[in-house]
């Protein structure tokens, strides 16, 4: 097999890197979304009582 700039091996590696990147980005989005929902459900006073009196 001829040596090419772009090898099958590079294609598979790239698919792994993009896949992992997307999975991590999705995980960050999930944790952020979950935080927003949880805080909204219990209310800002309960989520951060020390902030309740601040303007």
């Amino acid at each position: 097999m001829a040596i090419e700039v772009e090898h099958e091996l590079h294609r598979r590696r790239r698919s792994r890197n993009y896949g992992l990147g997307l999975a991590l980005a999705a995980f960050v989005a999930l944790v952020f979304g979950l935080t927003v929902v949880k805080v909204a459900e219990i209310g800002p006073e309960a989520a951060a009582p020390h902030m309740a009196d601040s303007p």
Partner: protein, 311 residues
């Protein structure tokens, strides 16, 4: 030249190979039954939280699939059906699958605990342990009842979904568990009947190998008979309703007819028509489970839309 040999390796894993380790087809059943368990529960769950719960239940199921593939690579390499899996095909190292399985197990259990509650998380951990250790490492190679007890692992998801919403266990969730638990043996024994020599070659003590094929046919009928009262009992609980009752009656009659037909058939008859009845029973048993859980979902939706629906 030896350096070039390394570069020309064709079997490096792509992202899809790691997805294959999570057994996406099994995952679809886990997603569906867990979603039904969560949605039919009488407690409202925020849609985003419900989505996250189902996602991590599925990921936990996937993690146990990866652990299963790590441990079973030797069996998978001999069976025609599983020879192309990432580890026997040489694209993923066994150790990578073990690492992925353990990491995803931890992530999914912790995230389910944070998203829902720690009771549901503990159930998910138990499910992973049951499938990866009790079934894969211990029972599968030791007893022809492997399918029966291993079926418990597949039966947990609706119970976990229910626990995410309610934080506990109840008659309804136990019956949903029992439904999948009793359904698993006939489903897989039908598969074993037409997947002939594969299991014996791999040294897995399937019932067809240890007790013969006629005994397996009788077992399918016996477990189908035990499955019917469980499926009908679910109709009488608060999550049952007219749609589920009608579906349960029709589907269970077909199940019994199919199972009785299999029990009467001789091996010569089955050989003659290429295991047509066995294959159709296997296919039917898949839709049986999907339709029953779908009917539970339909009744839950109708309860929300039509006042006084159900009982």
């Amino acid at each position: 030249m030896s350096d070039l040999g390394l570069i020309e390796r064709q079997d490096e894993a792509g992202f899809g190979d790691y997805v294959q380790l999570l057994k996406p087809r099994v995952m679809s059943l886990v997603v569906f039954t867990a979603a039904v368990g969560l949605l039919v529960a009488p407690v409202h769950v925020h849609p985003f939280v419900a989505f996250v719960c189902i996602l991590f239940i599925a990921l936990g199921g996937g993690a146990s699939g990866a652990l299963n593939m790590w441990y079973e690579a030797d069996i998978d390499a001999v069976m025609r059906r599983t020879r192309g899996r990432p580890i026997p095909a040489g694209r993923v190292e066994g150790g990578e699958a073990l690492g992925l399985g353990l990491a995803l197990s931890g992530i999914s259990v912790v995230m389910l605990g944070l998203a829902a509650n720690w009771f549901a998380a503990a159930l998910l951990a138990l499910t992973i342990f049951f499938y990866a250790v009790v079934y894969t490492m211990w029972l599968k190679r030791a007893t022809p009842q492997n399918i029966v007890i291993g079926g418990a692992a597949g039966a947990f998801p609706p119970m976990i979904g229910w626990a995410c919403a309610t934080g506990g266990v109840s008659v309804e969730s136990i019956l949903m568990f029992a439904l999948i638990f009793m359904w698993t043996p006939p489903h897989f024994w039908a598969l074993a009947l037409f997947m002939k020599d594969d299991y014996s070659k791999a040294g897995v003590p399937m019932l067809t190998v240890t007790h013969g094929r006629q005994a397996t046919r009788r077992h399918i009928l016996a477990y189908s008979l035990l499955l019917v009262p469980v499926a009908l009992a679910l109709a009488l609980t608060p999550i049952g309703g007219p749609v589920y009752l009608a579906a349960a009656i029709v589907l269970n009659m077909r199940l019994l007819r199919g199972a009785a037909g299999l029990a009467r058939r001789t091996e010569a008859e089955a050989e003659a028509d290429g295991y047509a009845a066995e294959k159709s029973f296997f296919g039917f048993s898949l839709s049986y489970l999907f339709l029953l859980f779908g009917a539970l979902l339909a009744d839950a939706a109708l309860r929300g839309l039509v006042p006084g629906w159900g009982w």
